[in-house]
Amino acid sequence: MKSSVITFPGSNCDRDMDVALKKFGFNNKMVWHDDNELPKSDLVVLPGGFSYGDYLRCGSMASKSKIMQSVINFAKSGGLVMGICNGFQILVETGLVPGVLLRNKYLEFICKNVFVKLDNKENTYFKNLNKDVLEFHIAHNEGNYFCTKDQLKEIKDNNQIAIYYCNSEGKIEDQYNPNGSIKNIAGIFNKEKNVLGMMPHPERMIDQSLSGEDGSIFFKNLINNIK
């Protein structure tokens, strides 16, 4: 399976994603933001980091970079595009997924483990996963998901909510919401479910020596679903 990770000048989770994808069997290529052509891929990943310093709005300038036109075309033709953390912010800025990501409610960067509840398994990302709650890791300053009432209704009607922040038992309550996201939303799909944006970093959870191993479950399942 072929994957591509886009490196923006200020990406800093690109290597971590590369390590994770390769560990679980992807043949991964790193693609420079200033390139025009996307290599043939089964999956394109926009990694975390601070693409252009995250000045103005997070992800805003990255969404205008050269390679993004190819990524947008790839997504529109049904290709799998996953944006993690800053990658999610970039996806939002391109309009591939709805909503915006605001500054965290308590105005502080948060780096810790969180639990997320899967809402929809009818897609390539989560199909066949035998768990409903995963322990992932977040590290962000702007992950406070927001959308208008109408948008919220629409994404609910279309089953576009991918994951919610919750506790280890899967309870979705305000106290388990780390950043103030509307309805505890941690990740969403586009309408067609081939584009996924999420704040948590599965690539930081691929080894027992690190924060945990639920990332491994996610990646193993993902490559099996693509095969």
């Binding site: 252009y52 310093g53 000045y55 103005l56 300038m61 205008k64 970079s65």
Partner: protein
């Protein structure tokens, strides 16, 4: 009464955000730019009818909180 204030970086202070926005605009084809500086804009509704008093209150806010006078300047631009 509504008072508006603009906070800008002092002239000689580096503005990393402005610099990168400038580069991005350049890249998008807006070539005719010599500099971009980013600032903040506040609209404050003060319970005060006298414009000069309202202005004075906001000025005080700027000095004490809204602006970081080490690196920023402020300007009260409008009262209505």
């Amino acid at each position: 009464m509504k008072v508006s204030a603009i906070i800008t970086l002092k002239k000689d202070v580096l503005d990393p955000q402005g610099k990168v926005i400038h580069q991005a605009l350049d890249g998008m084809g807006f070539e005719n730019i010599s500099e971009v500086r980013q600032g903040k804009y506040f609209e404050i509704d003060v319970n005060e009818d006298d414009p000069s008093k309202a202005k004075a209150v906001v000025e005080d806010m700027c000095k004490k909180l809204l602006a970081n006078l080490v690196i920023e300047n402020f300007k009260i631009i409008e009262t209505q």
